[in-house]
């Protein structure tokens, strides 16, 4: 408003400046207090957060087969791996990998691989869950969108994806029941 606020000998001027500043600050606080709730409505709601776990019974899943379940709106691949697939995954030289992880770091029990079925490149769902699917060059999964190949531990081996398929938090509530989330 006025540039000569330095002149403290004008009490009237100072009072006006003070009022302007206070009013402006309160207006800013009010605006902030109104904007935050509006933005926060876009965060996950209470019912969405409550549905954040999924329980899967895998007792009927044969070795070599896999199942896809929904968890937080995303597909999760659960694969009952065969002995060959486990051996294959373990034989890989970790130092050669783009995202260096041993197979042991990625599973809780070697025969059960649990990963989020979302390609780490741009979010497509890789193929490889069905018998007839393309499984890529490394006997795991293959993302048709941009050609990323994942191995039998769902690690990235070839193609543009930067990371291995993510392992979600999960635990075995008994030998054949997995609780994801």
């Amino acid at each position: 408003m006025s540039s000569d606020s330095s002149s403290g000998d004008k009490p009237d001027q100072t009072k006006r400046e003070f009022l302007y500043l206070t009013a402006g600050a309160m207006g800013a606080v009010a605006t902030g207090a109104v904007v935050w709730p509006m933005v926060d409505t876009m965060n996950p709601a209470a019912d969405t957060l409550a549905m954040a776990t999924t329980e899967v019974d895998v007792s009927k899943l044969e070795p070599g087969h896999s199942v896809t379940v929904m968890w937080r709106g995303k597909p999760v691949f659960i694969k009952h791996r065969t002995a060959e697939e486990i051996a294959e995954a373990k034989a890989v030289n970790v130092a050669d990998l783009r995202d260096k992880q041993t197979d042991e770091e990625r599973v809780q029990k070697p025969e059960w691989l649990v990963v989020v079925g979302v390609c780490t490149h741009l979010g497509c769902v890789p193929l490889g869950q069905k018998e007839t699917d393309a499984k890529g060059e490394f006997d795991g999964w293959f993302c048709p969108c941009h050609g990323s190949h994942y191995d039998s531990s769902a690690r990235i081996r070839k193609g543009p994806a930067p990371k291995n398929l993510a392992v979600p938090p999960y635990k075995f509530t008994n030998d054949t029941t997995i609780l994801i989330g």
């Binding site: 009072k15 006006r16 009022l19 302007y20 206070t22 009013a23 309160m26 207006g27 606080v29 009010a30 207090a33 209470a46 019912d47 409550a50 549905m51 009927k60």
Partner: protein, 253 residues
């Protein structure tokens, strides 16, 4: 200037006058005190738990409450483990499983209260054609709110001599038209309270009304707390703005 302000106040108050004159109804709604009334009111957690107990053991036999989930019980003061074990007492239908069949499983915290009937028609059929309303929003869906619920539960009387009731009907002074299909649901000592609260119909009704108000307005405590802050802030802001306005206008008036 003052006259303009008075006129504005009069005009702005008109909708309230219109509204107040509108909420007339035939039923007798008792004047009951609740802890959640007023701008600083909050829910009495013990009453909520007792009310929930009555809902579970009495009301839920006929009335659904499908907008409330077990996870919401946290607001009643239950912890996660308690909620899990309460939920696990109920079984809910889930599915279809891999074979395409629906199956029963114990309820989880994220599940909603189980309805006593599969659908409205089944509910009507089981209750002589009268539909027991869902109770999730009942205190917001009736004039009088919690007092109305209390009034219904305590309002059963002998019908006056000149009043004819058909079979399956009961006389209730709070019910609009005084005819209600629900038999008196509460009687003294039917539910045992562990905290020594008197086991009377009035106390039961009061606790259920509290619980149902919470179910309809779970946000109330947060709302009122926030409201007090907002009003104080706005009054201060208005004061500052008034001072600013006066300062600016000082040389013009």
């Amino acid at each position: 200037m003052l006259r303009a302000i008075l006129a504005i106040a009069l005009l702005a108050g008109a909708p309230l006058a219109v509204q107040a004159s509108e909420s007339s109804h035939t039923s007798v709604i008792p004047d009951v005190q609740f802890s959640f009334e007023g701008p600083f009111g909050s829910y009495d957690k013990a009453a909520l738990q007792r009310g929930y107990k009555i809902y579970r053991q009495v009301c839920s036999a006929c009335h659904s409450m499908k907008r409330v989930a077990f996870r919401n019980l946290e607001a009643l003061g239950y912890n996660e483990a308690e909620i899990k074990s309460i939920a696990a007492e109920y079984s809910v239908t889930d599915g279809p499983n891999d074979e395409g069949e629906m199956f029963e499983r114990p309820a989880r915290a994220s599940d909603y209260f189980k309805s006593p009937y599969p659908n409205d028609n089944a509910a009507k059929y089981a209750n002589n054609g009268a539909l027991p309303p869902d109770l999730s929003l009942i205190t917001k869906a009736r004039f009088g709110g919690a007092s109305y619920v209390y009034g219904i539960l305590t309002g059963y009387e002998e019908a006056p001599d000149d009043f004819t009731l058909m079979t399956g009907q009961h006389y209730n002074k709070t019910m609009s038209g005084h005819v209600i299909a629900m038999a008196p649901p509460l009687s003294a000592d039917m539910i045992s309270y562990e905290d020594g609260t008197p086991q009377t119909v009035n106390q039961y009704a009061h606790d259920v009304a509290t619980f149902l108000t919470w179910a309809a307005e779970p946000e109330m405590e947060q709302r009122k707390k926030m409201g007090v802050g907002v009003i104080i802030f706005l009054l201060a802001f208005a004061g500052i703005m008034y001072a600013t306005k006066r300062k600016i206008w000082a040389d013009k008036h």
